[in-house]
Amino acid sequence: MTHETASALLALTTPDADDLERLRSRLATDALASGDLDVAYATVDTPVGALLLAATDHGLVRVAYEREGFDAVLETLATQVSSRVLRAPQRLDIAAREIDEYFAKRRTVFDLPLDFSLSSGFRQTVQRHLPDIAYGHTESYKVVAEAVGNPKAVRAVGTACATNPLPVVVPCHRVVRSDGSPGNYAGGPEAKITLLTLEGAA
């Protein structure tokens, strides 16, 4: 008897997916308006698979490939930036549009505020240099090391590219081996070749 009435009550109050989706979206809007959302994220579909985009108040803070595991990426953001993380595509509108345009070959330069708070020191110095490599061009790890004033740090440049928190937008894919072969990439070697081919650099 108790069980039957309680089950009826559960069934009665169960929301449908649309109700919940509407409330989640309202929460994201409210949290953005009140300034309580530290990390907003969205996912976008691209020729190199789904990408997760995350932004703080300061700008785009993370671009991640699906193979990195979106849940793991969100946990890292929660640990290193803030646990106030919500799916809030509104804050990623411009970034998503520019990425669309890039893959449609209608954009060669990203014009977005970037938040480099996930990297520091030499790695960040290297990552900040990468947008200077023009669309459709490549540099070797060695040339990048020289460009940032540390010609012996070829290996460290490799690490800086491998730990780039903003792939695609910060073009670590334009850094290749001295023999011209693509080298490693967070999105996998095929993704790197896809990007270089798109730009006409491979």
Binding site: M1, T2, T5, A6, A8, L9, L10, L12, T13, T14, P15, D19, L20, L23, R24, R26, L27, D30, A31, S34, D36, L37, V39, Y41, L74, E75, L77, A78, T79, S82, S83, R84, V85, L86, R87
Partner: protein, 168 residues
């Protein structure tokens, strides 16, 4: 140790249950939506300051309880007295009529019973936890939940008898 779970995960895991609770307490309309929104916004604000919470659902229900009370009080303050009660739209014979009967029965429960039923039978919290939210002892929370279910059962049976009598 501060919590490092992305808040989105909290919403994904507990969003549906908290909405059920808000609806059981406030009915299935805009008030429940408001209580849900205010609960999760307050929880988001407080989230990074929380030490690892043993029972996140109980923590959220505690916030939702306070938000629902605020909303009920605000509604009472702004209620406009009507001179004549408008005719109720009949729900007899339409699909979902039983749903309306059950909603009405839940709304008629005394506050403590409705809260205890919502937090125990909808959210699944133990009586001791509910006692912390409502005040009083675990035993009184258990009794309120049991009385609430008994009252709901009685209302539903009465409706059923009424309907069977009417359809004859």
């Amino acid at each position: 140790m501060k919590t490092t779970t992305p808040f989105e995960q909290v919403v994904a895991e507990h969003g549906a249950t908290i909405l059920r609770v808000c609806r059981a307490v406030l009915g299935p309309g805009a008030d429940a939506d408001d209580a849900w929104s205010e609960t999760f916004l307050a929880a988001l604000k407080a989230w990074p300051e929380q030490n690892r919470i043993a029972n996140v659902e109980a923590w959220l229900v505690t916030i939702a309880h306070r938000k629902a009370i605020d909303i009920t009080r605000a509604r009472a303050r702004h209620a406009v007295p009507v001179a004549e009660v408008p005719d109720e739209v009949t729900t007899r014979g339409v699909p979902g009529a039983h749903d309306q009967d059950l909603w009405d029965a839940v709304a008629r429960l005394p506050d403590k019973q409705r809260h205890a039923v919502a937090y125990h039978h909808v959210a699944g919290l133990p009586h001791a936890q509910i006692a912390e939210i409502l005040g009083g002892t675990a035993e009184s929370a258990r009794r309120a939940a049991a009385d609430g279910i008994k009252n709901l059962r009685r209302s539903l049976d009465a409706e059923r008898v009424h309907e069977e009598g009417a359809s004859r």
